[in-house]
Symmetry: C2
């Protein structure tokens, strides 16, 4: 950790229409934006060594509060010296608040004003997450960027229901902020750690704007857009971004949660988003699906069985150049660990290479042309 | 490949009582003996990158004829340039003959004088392995050391049955030798590739001696002892070695197939064995069991849950020193890829470190003392 830096800050370095090149400074290092955060759900980016994640170019990764509170437990991680030491990652870590997983993974949920009651998907044990407990857990984990506790509802939903949920999340934002400030005062949070707010409101323009304005009014060092990529479709997602981003401050980072495909990332950066996370590169890798600069490749497909070509000669990942598609096809068909390992690795590198290419294009003022060209290339059958 | 060397040869460098320090020269490189061969069943040492296997110190690895003939198929691997290129391993490879897996994995076997009929454990398809086909497959794979086709029976068995089987394996040895010589004549085998014989005979002293003598009479560049570690127990295995090894020539390598625990390896080297293979390091690694210099460690055990100590400070594997036992416990409990990856790696390195330590002890004429001391250490609860 760089003890010289004790603050958290965002600098907008260059803007190319709405696309932003920036940098987030934290005590644990600089995050170059637009940034993609590999997901280390249960304190490991699945099937990758931490060195591979770092070498791929990731400045920050994401940990899941829901998973880690259940196993191995936040208090245990704190006793072991915090999440960074536990998983051997010395760069910044962002933790989500647990709200999304309570909805998507746990059973027997009961949402009240107080918080969310749920049963663990692992052993059925009962747990309660509130804004205060979520912040406490994130402080125990020692994450550098923490997220407010929010409710995340499945779309489509009635407007009334979306509104009720958005307003609950606003009240939870206030409680999260207060809890975080108390942690700072008590020494539970360290200088330079930051709490981000989450804009909710489904795909409703008016609700999104109300949510964004209320959160900006409260004042946070960063703003996320949550509750998207839950079934509303690419067009609705992009439209919601266009309606929401203008209501967020220029001088704070903007994080689109849980997104997405390479095309999603390009279209979101085009609309001013700075940060992303998604399980797609590793999950798809485990399922034999590769992202390449000439499109997606399904390695289960028999057409690769005798193809000596490498997966992606343009990748900066050695594995994408060294192994033949025939070998990867074999590994995937045989269900071998190495298949998941290689493809999780090449996909993770692809996502980082994609972000680096976006940053370079913005820096050189040619993002629009780059984006159109790249989307065409990525739409190929790889 | 070192094209300067076109022959296969074994040199006994030093003997310490019965323990032997030696070196097998092949066109693809030198194998320092005693050697342990990591098992790359379906063209991958499970959960390891080939670079990790190499860096662990392995000079040679093993591929399984049975698995590879079924998936992806020997002819396919030949069309793709051979097994070495396919799996990115440029050192020597030994392939077994398929006999053992026909017994242990396939269903509906019919053994005749001609060979073994069986059904694939993958898709139920019907296959026939004969000595001639086994050698043909091994030549298609391009392995540097090939094994005769043999029958491998489950112990305990009636003496009559063991005798019948041993004699069948002798006739198959002759046919394997003839088939290999034909491959050499036709260019299907390359100069410097070698065919090893397999001594059978269960735990019967007389049958083992008859098998060994008959095979030595035929003349092979190396001799394996097969049909052990199939349920007869450590004592019977060691006794069989003591009765068999004296009937093998001094100037040829001796390979004990499918063995074993660290203690098995030490006792076998003590009795003059030069080569081993076993799935134990990687299989145990996938199941949360680690080999360390202070004994076996079951990482499922709750006593590791908050243990910040590394797995094995004496290991030459970085992962055995870098990760805490608490983290490994967490990964194993959560069933994460990284747990299997790390423990397969540290176990593979442990086995190579063990062989290196044996070679050093023999070189310095202190094998007996080293062996007794090491067995005591390894019997600890790690």
């Amino acid at each position: 950790m760089d003890h010289a830096v004790k603050h958290f800050g965002y600098t907008l370095l260059k803007q190319d229409r709405s696309a932003r090149l920036g940098e987030i400074v934290t005590p644990r290092g600089v995050i170059r934006t637009p940034a993609f955060m590999p997901v280390g759900t249960v304190a490991t980016v699945k099937a990758l060594y931490p060195e591979q994640v770092k070498e791929a170019g990731a400045d920050i990764l994401l940990g899941n509060t829901y998973h880690l509170m259940l196993r191995p437990g936040a208090e245990r991680i704190a006793r072991l010296g915090g999440l960074h030491k536990f998983m051997r990652w010395d760069g910044p870590i962002l933790t989500d608040s647990g709200g999304f997983q309570v909805m998507s993974l746990s059973t027997i949920r009961k949402i009240t004003e107080e918080g969310a009651q749920f049963q663990s998907h692992i052993d059925g044990s009962k747990h309660m997450l509130t804004p205060e407990r979520s912040i406490e857990i994130q402080c125990l984990l020692g994450s550098d960027i923490q997220m407010q506790f929010d409710e995340c509802i499945q779309l489509p939903a009635e407007r009334k229901e979306v509104e009720r949920s958005m307003e609950l999340s606003l009240r939870w934002a206030e409680r999260s902020k207060r809890a975080f400030e108390q942690q700072v005062a008590m020494g539970g949070a360290r200088p330079g750690q930051a709490l981000f707010a989450i804009v909710q409101g489904g795909v409703d323009r008016d609700l999104r704007q109300r949510s964004a304005r209320a959160l900006v009014e409260m004042g946070f060092p960063g703003y996320a857009i949550g509750g998207l990529a839950v079934g509303e479709g690419h067009e609705a997602m992009v439209a919601t971004l266009e309606e929401t981003v203008p209501h967020l401050p220029q001088d704070k980072p903007r994080y689109l949660m849980g997104v997405g495909t390479p095309q999603d990332l390009i279209e979101s950066v085009r609309r001013g988003i700075d940060m992303f996370d998604c399980v797609m590169p590793t999950r798809n890798g485990r399922h034999g699906m590769a992202f390449t600069w000439s499109g997606r490749v399904n390695l289960h497909n028999a057409r690769h069985a005798e193809d000596l070509a490498p997966l992606d000669p343009e990748s900066t990942c050695p594995a994408a150049r060294d192994y033949s598609r025939a070998y990867l096809h074999h590994l995937v068909k045989a269900g071998e660990y190495l298949g998941a390992m290689i493809l999780s690795w090449t996909n993770t590198v692809f996502y980082q290479d994609l972000m680096a290419a976006m940053r370079a294009a913005i820096a050189e003022g040619r993002f629009e042309a780059w984006a159109d060209d790249t989307k065409t290339r990525l739409a190929q059958k790889g």
